[in-house]
């Protein structure tokens, strides 16, 4: 693993951890990966190793203010800065180490990638992958109703919400908590947009040990939210894979099947994997099995070991023929 510090347009250095494929077989395809909210790239090393083992280079990127990247933890300068960072990272690799590029991420990292596609288009990409995409700013996409969902439903549809499905205790342990009052204040008063309005669960001690960021500002939340997900998915023309656990605490299990059927083109090269029993975090283990295979099917070569075995078999066949 090799860590690159890539400068963003404002000079902030972004840490990108490069997991290269086998040294004797240079990769033809590079995957850029953006981690989920609160975490950093460290959590996804196994996924990167699984892809690298199959002959793909994977680059795990720390968001600004997260992991080893520079920047203020839990906030960003303006709404949309994170997709600009994605663009800067892509430009860096395009200039210094050109290779076909597959973009994706986990949870809110997927949302950043979708925002990048919306703003910058998909010309520089050859594929995309989204693991449990964090599309939580819409009523229909979330698994459980939050405290403000009744009012939001009435505002959106002008009728009473017919049902209310609150999160159970077990799920609440994993879901971030939003301070709605501070959120509304930040909408009205721009100078409050750097104050913390959302808190991720978990003890502060453990979070410190894991290098997690537990408090997010309005600017950062707005930079990872994507309300017009339908339009972005509709414009995707690249091979795409969606991976999600059926027990995901955040996403409604019916959401991605609906996106797949209604918002991705009928003739698009698309795949959907809804993995039973896996939740929002354990789905990363499932993705470590599915993503490499999806890559091999499109851009891959047989793994080195298999290739060596094939070569040995061929040599044996030639030798046998010569003997015969």
């Amino acid at each position: 693993m090799n860590t690159l510090m890539i400068p963003a347009r404002d000079g902030t250095e972004l840490a990108c951890h490069q997991y290269e494929a086998q040294p004797d077989r240079p990769a033809q395809t590079r995957l850029l990966f953006f981690h989920g909210g609160s975490f950093n790239s460290r959590r996804y090393a196994n996924l990167a190793k699984a892809c690298a083992k199959q002959g793909f280079e994977m680059v795990l990127c720390d968001w600004r203010g997260h992991g080893e990247s520079q920047g203020t933890a839990g906030t960003c300068d303006y709404i949309g800065q994170l997709e600009d960072d994605v663009a800067d990272i892509i430009s860096y690799f395009e200039s210094n180490q050109p290779m076909s590029l597959v973009l994706g991420g986990h949870s809110l990292g997927s949302a950043i990638c979708l925002r990048y596609i919306k703003k910058y288009g998909q010309q520089k990409l050859t594929g995309c992958y989204f693991i449990a995409p964090g599309i939580s700013s819409n009523l229909e996409s979330v698994r459980y109703d939050g405290p403000g969902s009744k009012a939001s439903f009435r505002l959106r549809f002008w009728r009473k919400k017919p049902s209310f499905n609150p999160a159970p205790e077990a799920a609440l342990k994993h879901l971030p908590k939003m301070n709605n009052r501070k959120f509304l204040m930040a909408i009205m008063l721009p100078f409050l947009r750097h104050t913390k309005i959302m808190n991720f669960p978990g003890s502060a001690k453990m979070a410190k040990l894991e290098g997690r960021v537990t408090d997010y500002s309005f600017n950062l939340i707005a930079s990872v939210s994507i309300t017009d997900y339908a339009q972005v998915f509709r414009q995707i023309k690249l091979p795409i894979v969606l991976i999600c656990g059926e027990a995901d605490e955040m996403l409604n299990p019916l959401f991605l099947p609906t996106v797949y059927q209604w918002h991705l083109g009928p003739t698009l090269d698309k795949q959907l994997h809804m993995l039973p029993k896996l939740n929002h975090m354990s789905v990363i283990n499932g993705a470590s099995r599915i993503l490499p295979q999806w890559l091999i099917d499109r851009w891959g070569q047989a793994p080195v070991q298999e290739q060596e075995q094939e070569q040995e078999q061929e040599q044996e066949q030639v030798a046998q023929e010569q003997v015969a």
């Binding site: 009523l139 229909e140 549809f157 009728r159 017919p162 509709r234 409604n252 019916l254 959401f255």
Partner: protein
């Protein structure tokens, strides 16, 4: 000459092709024909060849069954369909003569979708399709083109409703497995909801009822090749022809913008022509105008749609309602049909057609919002009627949703000029 029984027909007259004969569907008087035409052996091509040589343009008055036949020689191309056929064939002349049983494939050679005409006229569209220049072969219709030299239509004829009824009455249906829908509670609504866009794309037109997706869902799960059409699949047929447009749609009129309302003039003109035909027919003694429309237009069009879905699965739908006695019985009982819908307002928002229709205001394509007034206030007032008109409200939502989908990913992307 080669004859095929097949599930798909595609003929482009510009491409060099030998003499051929294609049959989509089935014949039910094959043994009697062999005897009458003195044709021995099992070969269908020899039989059809003999039949065309003897009866030529009147062949569909002698071949009984449910079919569409394309008969092509070096000089001529003849297409014909059986009386009250549930099979259909699409043809277009604008870019060279092209015939196809697949509307989506056919749409790729034309450039002007006219979904609105199809939405307004529904089953009264006769030979018109959602695509400008593409026509549909009607039940009991025959068309003959001269193809040596310039391609030219030299003959066209349509059997009268009375002739078609008399011929269809003689059809002896082949054995088939009935396809009965399970109770609504056992139906997977998520699968149903998510089937709608793909089905609309395959059919090349907006879906008008969730029952079609349900039919598609069950077909995909059955191994039987010959399926017997049950009357329950006909309950939801679009009854746009039963009443005047304003009367049948006054409850949802607020959703249609002025531009769309204008196209109802076409519906009025069609209805006027049909009313004259009804008065001239002998049926006006025993059937009301609405029953006459249902019997002659709405029911056959719905059966064609179901047959098209069966064709997508490579299956044959045996349609007992091509027989007039059974069809009449069904038409007379129309008021006893339950109005129950598939979806409810209490269902999860993500796979609920009613909520999804309201979301079109925020997520729909530009064209959809240009033609329909989908602001939350208007759509809420339409949804309020779901309690009394569950199936009608559901049908409207599904049509809007699949129209929006097709305008995005459909056979062709619509532009403003297409309306």
């Amino acid at each position: 000459m080669m004859a095929d029984i097949q599930s798909d027909i595609w003929i482009n007259i510009d491409s060099p092709q030998s003499e051929s004969c294609h049959l989509l569907g089935y014949l039910t008087n094959e043994a009697a024909l062999r005897e009458q035409l003195n044709v021995s052996g099992d070969s269908l091509n020899v039989l059809l060849d003999a039949a065309f040589k003897l009866w030529d343009k009147q062949v569909n008055q002698h071949l009984l069954g449910d079919y569409v036949i394309v008969y092509k020689t070096n000089q001529k191309l003849l297409i014909t369909s059986s009386a009250r056929a549930s099979y259909t064939l699409y043809y277009q002349m604008d870019r060279g003569l092209v015939l196809s049983s697949d509307l989506t494939r056919m749409s790729k050679v034309v450039s002007e979708p006219q979904f609105m005409r199809n939405m307004v006229l529904g089953p009264l569209a006769d030979n018109q399709t959602p695509f400008e220049g593409v026509s549909r072969l009607q039940g009991g219709e025959t068309r003959l083109w001269q193809i040596s030299g310039n391609v030219e239509l030299t003959h066209q004829a349509l059997l009268s409703n009375e002739q078609q009824s008399a011929l269809a009455q003689q059809v002896r249906l082949p054995e088939a497995m009935p396809l009965i829908a399970p109770a609504l509670a056992d139906t997977k609504l998520t699968d149903l909801f998510n089937r709608l866009p793909q089905l609309a794309h395959q059919l090349g037109q907006p879906i008008s009822d969730a029952g079609l997706a349900h039919f598609d869902q069950l077909l995909s799960a059955t191994d039987a090749q010959m399926i017997l059409l049950d009357s329950q699949w006909l309950n939801a047929r679009n009854r746009i022809g039963e009443q005047r447009f304003e009367q049948s749609h006054h409850w949802c009129k607020s959703v249609f913008k002025r531009r769309l309302s204008k196209s109802t003039a076409q519906l009025k003109a069609t209805q006027k022509t049909l009313a004259t035909a009804y008065k001239a027919s002998s049926a006006n003694q025993s059937q009301s105008f609405n029953q006459w429309l249902d019997f002659n237009y709405v029911l056959p069009a719905w059966c064609q749609l179901l047959q098209d879905i069966a064709r997508l699965h490579g299956k044959v739908l045996v349609n007992p309602f091509l027989q007039p006695a059974k069809a009449l019985n069904l038409v007379m009982q129309v008021k006893a049909q339950p109005p129950q819908g598939y979806f409810s307002l209490e269902q999860a928002s993500i796979n609920n057609v009613l909520d999804a229709m309201q979301r079109l205001f925020y997520m729909g394509e530009k064209n959809t919002n240009t033609l329909f007034k989908l602001d939350p206030v208007t759509t809420r007032s339409v949804l309020k009627q779901h309690q009394n008109k569950p199936r009608q409200v559901e049908q409207l939502c599904i049509k809007l949703l699949t129209f929006d989908y097709l305008s995005r990913f459909g056979p062709l992307t619509l532009s403003q000029s297409h309306f």
